[in-house]
């Protein structure tokens, strides 16, 4: 695929042009952190960031989304019947998404786009989106993408990969969707022959900076029931306060709730993000809760990402190594450590060394 060279002076103009045919989302700095927002006309994304605090999953999958509307007024002939809410699936683009976050959508797609059922909200929104990635020249210390199926220059799930080459941008078109956006932006100067080489060397440098790794090769061979009963869950979950920050920030967490919300004689049925960290997530009407303790819930989070998902799709772990859950956990629970404990768990081994 073609690589375009974008002169830094042409940057703002191109973004303005993109906005005439796309709803554009990009990183914006708040008080202390960057987060993805819908950009106003003329507003520029701020690419001076390592990664956003919250993943960009809400661009495709809003935290709260109305599915249906209804009337409870019996004078209305269609009262109590669900009606589709109006939706906007016109083209949108997300600029500055990190490669790990873009790859996360491919993992989540396996949940929402299945042979039996298709979630029309997630799929339509995903299909309307063009993903303009931003290669990581300087990964964080908590990044472990290279051993989690992704990487600082990984192209999976991206339509375009932007690389900051110092004096200019290189934009590599990965899909036709990406080429279309580059045309719309008027970024059509083909980069000189050395650009691919330059990108490859930046990639090599960036990958070498990632020092934190996980091993996942044995997860598939472990017995589910043995991992479930492993003694280390007590230790792993001990400090957890079930705040749910990890699942909220995670680009690959997709769990949701469905709620009706009434206002007078009308209302909406909506999907809201939910979290396996909360007791209400699984409690039965009788009061019985199959995941009644925080140990159950912490174990569910890790077993889902690192064992159930691995077994169900046979395509790696449900984690892209972005490191957000590690950076934001108030009690320093580290998925890298848990992953290695699971990967190396041997139920036959004695808990303490025999002398």
């Amino acid at each position: 695929m073609k690589v375009m060279k974008i002169d830094k002076n042409d940057w703002a103009g191109g973004i303005g042009k993109i906005q005439s045919s796309y709803r554009l989302y990009g990183p914006v700095k708040g008080d202390a952190f960057h987060d993805f927002k819908a950009l106003e006309k003329g507003e520029l994304p701020d690419l001076n960031f390592l990664n956003t605090r919250i993943s960009p999953k809400s661009v495709v999958y809003p935290q709260s989304e109305i599915m249906f509307e209804y009337s409870l007024d019996e004078k209305n002939p269609d009262h109590h019947i669900m009606k589709d809410a109006a939706k906007d699936y016109s083209p949108k683009a997300i600029l500055g998404i990190r490669p790990c976050d873009a790859a996360s959508f491919l993992l989540v797609k396996r949940n929402f786009d299945t042979t039996e059922y298709k979630d029309p909200y997630w799929i339509r929104s995903y299909e309307a989106t063009t993903f303009i990635g931003y290669a990581c020249n300087n990964p964080c210390s908590t990044c472990f993408c290279t051993t989690a199926g992704s990487g600082p220059f990984n192209e999976d799930g991206l339509d375009i990969l932007l690389t900051d080459a110092g004096d200019c941008w290189y934009a590599k078109a990965i899909t036709e969707k990406g080429e279309k956006l580059l045309n719309a932006a008027g970024w059509n100067t083909i980069a000189a022959g050395g650009s691919l080489k330059k990108i490859a060397s930046l990639k090599k440098e960036a990958e070498a900076k990632i020092s934190s790794l996980v091993s996942t090769d044995q997860l598939n061979n472990k017995k589910t029931t043995e991992l479930y009963e492993a003694p280390f869950w007590e230790d792993v979950s001990f400090a957890c306060i079930n705040c749910g920050t990890c699942t909220f920030l995670c680009p690959t967490c997709w769990c949701f709730d469905i709620q009706d919300e009434n206002s007078g004689c009308s209302g909406v049925r909506m999907k809201n993000w939910d979290s396996c960290m909360f007791p209400l997530f699984t409690i039965h009407g009788t009061g019985h809760n199959p995941r009644g303790t925080k140990l159950h819930r912490v174990r569910q989070r890790f077993m889902h990402k690192l064992k159930y998902y691995v077994d169900k799709y046979e395509n790696g772990i449900q984690c892209v190594g972005c490191g957000r859950c590690i950076r934001s956990c108030p009690v320093n629970i580290d998925i890298r450590r848990v992953c290695d404990m699971m990967n190396s768990y041997d139920p036959e081994a004695c808990a303490c060394p025999v002398k």
Partner: protein
């Protein structure tokens, strides 16, 4: 793209109070759009989300049989927000149902086999669907002996009492109805807990005999050792699970036991399958 979250609109056609404590009611629904009944084509053992507009949805086993046409029936225990509101609703009111959802009892496997149905309390709804379906003249010859062990706390807590009496009089199904205790001097059936009656009445295990168990956890806990003693293999013990659900289509993430979703991969599992999963139900 078909929207799996959109319920079919239905009208409540009939409400029957089933038990003496009035906590269980059977709702008979008629589809508002005639074409929707064909789309809602189901097998015994499946469930649906009952959608009470403005309150929410609840996953409930389908109590009517695929052989019964023109309506669908659900028996609902009054427990939480949605089921309590549903209990206050009247004939003629409009709501929705979404489904059918989940797998079903394994009817292909059960064909040509002896079937032992073991039920307790209000978990008899999809078992009723199964019995009505198996006893249909077009289906009865597909199965060998049918035994039904069904227990409740008292005679007044048994579901579908008229139908139970009708089945008692038939010679192509062996009914073993029991109650924990009878306050009725005319009670002419068994007295005792389901596990004890199972031990006495259930046929001996063989390769051609399958047991379907559905009931409260305590009943299952004490019935399983009895079936082990009778020699039932764990792949010949079929169970239907319940868990908290929302989407019913394997996406919202709460009802899983290991990698299996109770809503989509279940709710029916063999005990052999359950032995390989975490017991989070």
């Amino acid at each position: 793209m078909q929207n799996p979250y959109m319920p079919y609109p239905v009208r409540i056609d009939e409400i029957i109070t089933e038990t003496e404590d009035r906590n269980l009611k059977t709702f008979k629904f008629v589809f508002l759009n005639p074409g929707d009944e064909d789309k809602f084509s189901y097998r015994a053992g499946q469930f649906a989300e009952l959608s009470v507009t403005g309150k929410g949805e609840i996953p409930i086993g389908i109590a009517s049989s695929p052989t019964e046409k023109g309506f669908v029936k659900f028996t609902v225990n009054k427990v939480g927000l949605v089921s309590s509101y549903l209990h206050s609703m009247k004939v003629g009111e409009i709501m929705g149902i979404r489904g059918p959802l989940g797998n079903s009892y394994p009817w292909d496997t059960l064909e040509g086999k002896n079937v032992v149905i073991i039920g307790g309390g209000f978990a008899f709804t999809t078992l009723r669907s199964s019995i009505v379906s198996m006893l249909d003249p077009a289906n009865r010859k597909k199965f060998k002996d049918i035994n039904v062990i069904y227990g409740a706390r008292t005679p007044g807590m048994l579901l579908y009492r008229d139908e139970l009496a009708t089945w008692e009089r038939r010679d192509d199904i062996k009914m073993h109805i029991t109650v924990d205790a009878a306050n009725d001097p005319d009670w002419k059936y068994n007295v005792g807990f389901v596990p004890a009656i199972t031990e006495k009445k259930a046929p001996k295990a063989d390769a051609d005999t399958y047991a379907i168990i559905c009931g409260p956890p305590v009943m299952i806990k004490f019935t399983q050792p009895v079936l082990d003693k009778l020699g039932y293999g764990h792949d010949h013990i079929i169970m239907s699970l319940e868990n908290r659900m929302k989407c019913g289509i394997g996406m919202c993430g709460r009802c899983n036991i290991g990698k299996e979703f109770v809503c989509k991969d279940g709710p029916v599992f063999t005990l052999a399958q359950l032995n390989a999963t975490p017991r989070e139900y």
